[in-house]
Structure formats: structure tokens, C-alpha cells
Symmetry: C2
Subunit: 415 residues, 2 copies
């Protein structure tokens, strides 16, 4: 992409009510646009980051056999009444609206009920189980306060997966394979070292302990206690002696940390399948309950978490796996421009993702924008460097390190 064609620009300002650093940075760099508190649109650069995170999540869910679907935002009341989750007294953050005929519909805040309803057309026999099904789709939650940028949205993008199993043993195997897939996702996103599987309360979903995936962060709203050797954590609210013993954790070895929940996995048992009358017939012809698990990853929240974690006083510092572009190409001077044009075509033809700053701007402005936008690698092509013997400046955003390379050395680095 040539920046001269990109309709967004960097800015020195952001909405006055924006207190979250992730949103401030992403707005200043032109990645997102604030519609209202907790509701953000994705501009071209931000959408590229979002799509890269989606693709990593998708690949890891597919790798464990996840089958992708796309559920709907509009929700019919009847299926939610069967599980007693329609009434605002039971679930207090629904957005609801009305059809033209006056009947109420919900605006999807989670999808257990519609998923069970959708799969019920296909599940009868033990031969139809087990399986994983997932979607990557918007969720809507009527949060009273939404002041954390992408970390807490009223409208946000989530990956939600559901498992359907015949036995407890089969469920546990599916559940652990999902946990392993989650670890791979956070590893690929560059958050593996600071993201802890953390035992927590099951909330409205289950009476069993659930797992949260918590990324350590000073801006996190959650307080967790981590064992840095075992690499697991426990949420304060379930830190009883009994639970600690069960998990093999020693209270004295735990360290208190602030963290952001970037994923969660729940044992749903047969709560939803029973309530919606989804059963299977076993080998002997008897009707049996189906055991469900559900597995969430906050995809748009991760954009915010990564922006918070990988940033410095100059701006964003995207890990390459999720960066909107791999290379920020800067041209300086007329010959620099001519050679940068050639290099841009050559790199993009070879599939290297290049954001090319072809504007008539001062070098300092271009460098500052490249740092604010956080593109991992910067290549500078200038009259001076070309004259001094066909040299190129190569700068790594994360370290600030700059080296001077020949053209062939540069190409070797970028391909």
C-alpha cells in the first residue's frame, strides 16, 4: 500500500473521553475510529491486524477439528427462555429490540442456545458425536461502563467454540485439546510468556471451575495469583485451600498480578443440551445427555492487549505475526523515490507486505509515522545512501537497531 493512497493519517489527537492507552494509540495511528464508548470501527490498518489475529485463531481451531460456522446477531426469544437466560433479571446485559410485528428479539450476547438449536437438526445417534463447532463473530453486551478501549466493548469480535461429547472422558479430552490450541494461539501472537491458564469461577455457565487465559498487564481489571514456575494462575475468588490443594499450588509461592482475560474455557456439562432437549441415542438404544464445553477468545480485545503490551513512548510495536504490514518503506529524495518505487513493486510482487511512504514529507515525519504505526521493519532509500554505494538503511522497530545493507543483503532479510 502506498501511503499517498491510504485515506487514514496519523494524528496528534484522540477523542477527549478516551482514557485507555490502547485506544489512544490505535486512534492516533489511524487504526480504529471511535463510534461511541466501547464501540470501535476498524480502519484499513486496524482491520489488517484484526484479520491476522482471526486467521491465527482460525488455523488453530481448524487444527483440532473445529468446524467454522457463522451464527446470527438477531436472536429469537423462545430458545433463551428454555434455559432461563432471557429475562433481564437473569442476564443483565442484553441488548434487545423488536420486530415490526412487536415481538421481542435479542441482539446476540453469547451463542450457546442458538448453537445447540442449530446442531440439533444433525445429532441423533452416538455416531454423530463428538465434534467442535466455532464462529468468529460480533457479540453485543450492554456494559454500564466501557472505558478501556478495545479491552471492554459493547460490540466486540469473539471466537466462540463449542464441543459436544458423549462421555465425561471424551469431553475432558476435547477440553484439553482446546486448552492446548489456546496456548498455541497466544504463543503465535507473542503473548505466550505472559499469558497464564488461570483457574476461575464458572460464572453463569457452570458450577465447576473454569479456565481463564489471563495476560499480565498493568491495565488489567482482574487480580490473579500466579505460580511463575508451573506457569499457571488462580483467580482470587476461587483461591480456597481446597482448590489450591487440588491444583497443586502453594499459597506462599503465588505472586499477585494484574491481568486481562483474553480467553476462557468452560465445562458446561449438559446444562444447555438438556434444557434444549438435545440428546443422543447410545449403542444400546438408550437416550443420553450430551456434554458441552465452550471456549471463547476475545479477538478484538487481543488487538487492544497487543497494542498495550507492544508499545513504547514512540507508539505501537506490532509483533510480525499480526502487524498490518511487515515493512515500512521510506523514500528520501528523487533518486531515492525512483529506487523505492522499484523496490516496492519488487517486494509486493514477491508477496512481502509493504507500506510505502511515498509522500512528499520530511524524513522526520515519515520516521515518526513509521514508529507510531509500529510496522516491524523499516527500510530507508535515500539519495545519500544510494550515492554512497547502493546502500539501504534497515531499522528494526522493536529494538531501534539500524544497519546499512547492500540491496542483496536487504532482499535476503525481507524474503
Amino acid at each position: 500500500m502506498r501511503i499517498s493512497q491510504l485515506f487514514t493519517k496519523t494524528s496528534k489527537t484522540f477523542p477527549g473521553d478516551e482514557t485507555a492507552r490502547n485506544a489512544q494509540l490505535l486512534i492516533q495511528a489511524g487504526f480504529i475510529h471511535k463510534e461511541m464508548a466501547g464501540v470501535y470501527a476498524y480502519l484499513p490498518l486496524g482491520l489488517r491486524v484484526l484479520e491476522k489475529i482471526k486467521q491465527i485463531v482460525r488455523e488453530e481451531m481448524n487444527a483440532i477439528g473445529g468446524q467454522e460456522v457463522l451464527m446470527t446477531t438477531l436472536q429469537p426469544k423462545d430458545i433463551w427462555e428454555k434455559t432461563d437466560r432471557w429475562d433481564d433479571k437473569k442476564v443483565d446485559n442484553w441488548f434487545k429490540t423488536k420486530l415490526a410485528n412487536g415481538s421481542e428479539v435479542g441482539v446476540g450476547l453469547t451463542h450457546e442456545e442458538p448453537i445447540v438449536d442449530a446442531v440439533s437438526a444433525f445429532v441423533n445417534s452416538y455416531k454423530d458425536l463428538p465434534f467442535f463447532v466455532y464462529q468468529i463473530a460480533p457479540k453485543f453486551r450492554n456494559e454500564l461502563r466501557a472505558k478501556s478501549g478495545l479491552l471492554r466493548g459493547r460490540e466486540f469480535l469473539m471466537k466462540d467454540m463449542y464441543s459436544f461429547s458423549r462421555t465425561q472422558e471424551e469431553h475432558e479430552a476435547k477440553y484439553e485439546s482446546a486448552v492446548e490450541a489456546y496456548h498455541r494461539v497466544y504463543q503465535r501472537l507473542g503473548l505466550g510468556e505472559i499469558t497464564y491458564r488461570t483457574y476461575a469461577d464458572g460464572g453463569i455457565f457452570t458450577n465447576r471451575l473454569s479456565d481463564e487465559f489471563q495476560t499480565l498487564s498493568e491495565v488489567g481489571e482482574d487480580k490473579i495469583f500466579v505460580d511463575e514456575v508451573k506457569k499457571i494462575g488462580i483467580n482470587e475468588e476461587v483461591m480456597t485451600d481446597e482448590n489450591l490443594a487440588k491444583l497443586g499450588l502453594n499459597r506462599d509461592e503465588l505472586i499477585e498480578k494484574k491481568a486481562v482475560e483474553v480467553g476462557n474455557t468452560f465445562h458446561l456439562e449438559s446444562k444447555y443440551t438438556d434444557a434444549l432437549e438435545l440428546f443422543y441415542t447410545d449403542e444400546s438404544g438408550s437416550r443420553q445427555s450430551i456434554i458441552m464445553g465452550c471456549y471463547g477468545i476475545g479477538v478484538s480485545r487481543l488487538v487492544g492487549v497487543i497494542a498495550e503490551h507492544f508499545s513504547d513512548d514512540k507508539g505501537l510495536v506490532w509483533p510480525e505475526a499480526v502487524a498490518p504490514y511487515k515493512v515500512y518503506l521510506v523514500s528520501i529524495g528523487d533518486n531515492g523515490k525512483a529506487e523505492a518505487d522499484t523496490l516496492y513493486d519488487e517486494l509486493t510482487d514477491k508477496g512481502v507486505e509493504v507500506l510505502y511512504d511515498d509522500r512528499d514529507e520530511r524524513p522526520g515525519t515519515k520516521f515518526a509515522d513509521s514508529e507510531l504505526m509500529g510496522v516491524p521493519l523499516r527500510v530507508t532509500v535515500s539519495d545519500r545512501l544510494l550515492e554512497s554505494g547502493d546502500r539501504y538503511e534497515f531499522t528494526t522497530r522493536a529494538t531501534g537497531e539500524t544497519v546499512t545493507l547492500t540491496r542483496s543483503e536487504l532482499l535476503a532479510k525481507l524474503m
Copy 2:
């Protein structure tokens, strides 16, 4: 994908209130799930079709310089009041809901206002124009009746693009480039021959004539008049002598047809930019109005249109460009199974999209399912054919033609 692992199945039934053939077929084949009238979830096979259409649309919008964004479903009231499109008396198919603090928000039915609002952070000077911006995202419209399956949704997926230009001339060039891109989209979807650029009323958007892209169909709700030689159409409501003369159409040469609107393009002039106070400063420092165009394609509607058009009494007949898989592989017998396993791995390794019917089912059941699902090519590997000299049956869904091929002939056909 192995069908033994796929959680969906074909069915002989569909919801009793489902009268539209596109939805009946898609539900029976396990491609979609009906949540309520006009609201459908996409199951794995249906989502693959939807994603292929999205990708074709995306490629053609990118080719004319479209920059992809993702706007939000939740809409703040204030920007819609500025254009007088908030009041239900003015726009009668809003879904609206309320934030926890009681303030009203809309559920996005179109996105002119939020797009103008979002780009206004970046547009000041003549140097910032022109550009195209687009998204592929859900829209919500509170339709009184929704009985046409995917052809008329309360929740549906749309590609909506917007152009921002400095002069009328610049706008017209952008507009015509979008029209050309639309023709390429319908051509690639296999609908080129039956999709007409059709002059129509500008509706709530503009006083000028707009263009609809109408695909001929017996189930279409629109009545249009087409010139089959010039390959253009005109909507009945604007078929005045004046308009006919302007378009070079002769009333006697026009043929009446039923059609489904699969896209539209509007001249918005500066209605929305002026109302939302988005202007630019020209070379002489004067404030100028910005001319907008908007360009819609009903992406999920196209799934329905293609299903209606490309189907027969046995089921769906997907064009290869949008088929969920290219090849339906059938194994018959034990040796057939062993060789089909090998062939499946070989083809998928080489990037051929194969739906492999590895179930213990009668051949007739497998053939019927392959026809209902509409996968373009079927390969049958059976004990009998292998014994008769390493032969494979190769059937084309659209024509029903079956030939017997050697393994190398088969691979040459599929790669």
C-alpha cells in the same frame, strides 16, 4: 473434509414455513440454519460459499482501489439526526435498542452517516481526495415480511462501498469504475449473462437516476424491462419517454422480466457530506463540497440467487468459483476406500478442495447427497472400477456427464 467428520447432514425436510426454494435447498443440503424468518445462520458448507463470494467481491473492490474497513452495528443517534434519518417516520425499518443508561442506539441498517463521520478525521485538503472505502458486514432491516429465504433478510451480509470525490467529473469516473467492477463480480459468479445494469429511481438516497444490478429470475420481486442487445434494463417506475430517450432505449424493443436486485449504485451528490459538515479546501483555499457515491452488493442474497439459478430437481449445482468444495469423492468397497483415502490425501496436499464421502453408506445415498449439495465434480473410486484396470468415474454435476478415466487422466483434470 471427510463427511464422516462433518457435523451437518442432508435432510429430507425443512422448516414448514419455508416457502423459498433457495432456503429449502440450502437447508436440506445442510448449508444454512433458519433462526427466524429472514435470519439465517451459515453452517460449514454454507459459510464456505459465502466466503468465496466475499473474496471475489473483495478482490474486485481492491482492484479499483477500494480500502476495506469494518464499521459497527451499534449506531449513535446524533449522526443520523444530522441527516434526518433517525426518526422512524423518515426511515421505517430501523431496529433500535437502548444503552444501559437509557439512551437510544440504532442497529446498523446502512452506513453512509458513520462512514462520513469516520473519514472526516482524515479529510481536509484537496490532496486527501478522491478515494473508495468499503466494508463487507452485516446489515439489519426490520422488514415486515421476510419470506424469500436469503433473498430478503432482516439480517444479511452486504458489501457497501463509498466514494468521495472533489468534482462531478471525478465522481463520474469513480462511479463508472465501480460499475465495471460490478460487472466483473457477476461475471465471476456465473451470473454475468443474466445480470443487467438497470436504471432505477434513487429512492431515499438521491434525486438522480441510480443503477440497479438485476439478475433475471422467476422468483424476483422486481419487474424490469430489458434491451437484450444493449444488455441494459430499466425499472418500470422510471420508464418515462424522457428517460428512455436519454438512455437510448426504444420502448418497443424492451422485454418485461422478473428480476432480483443483486447490487445497486447511487449518486449521493453532497447530501451526506454537507449534512455532516465534511468539506475540503481546494487549491485556492476555498471550502468545497465533497461528492459521494455509494455502491452496494447483497453478498448473502447472492448465495440465495445462485442457489435459485444453479439448481435442478436433484439439488444445487454450484459454479466452481463459489462451490464449497471442487470435488466430491465417493468410495465404494474396501479397496475403493483404501485408494480413496490415498487420493484424498494427495489431492488435499496439492490444494484441491475435496469433500470426501468416507461414510459407510450405500452408493446411491452418496450420489444423491453429492447431487443435493451441488459439488461441481464427482470422483467415484470403487472396487469394481479398480479391478477393471485402475479406472475412476468422473461425473460433472452440471451436465450429469460421466466418463471413466485413468488415474493420471483424472489428476490432470483436477489440478
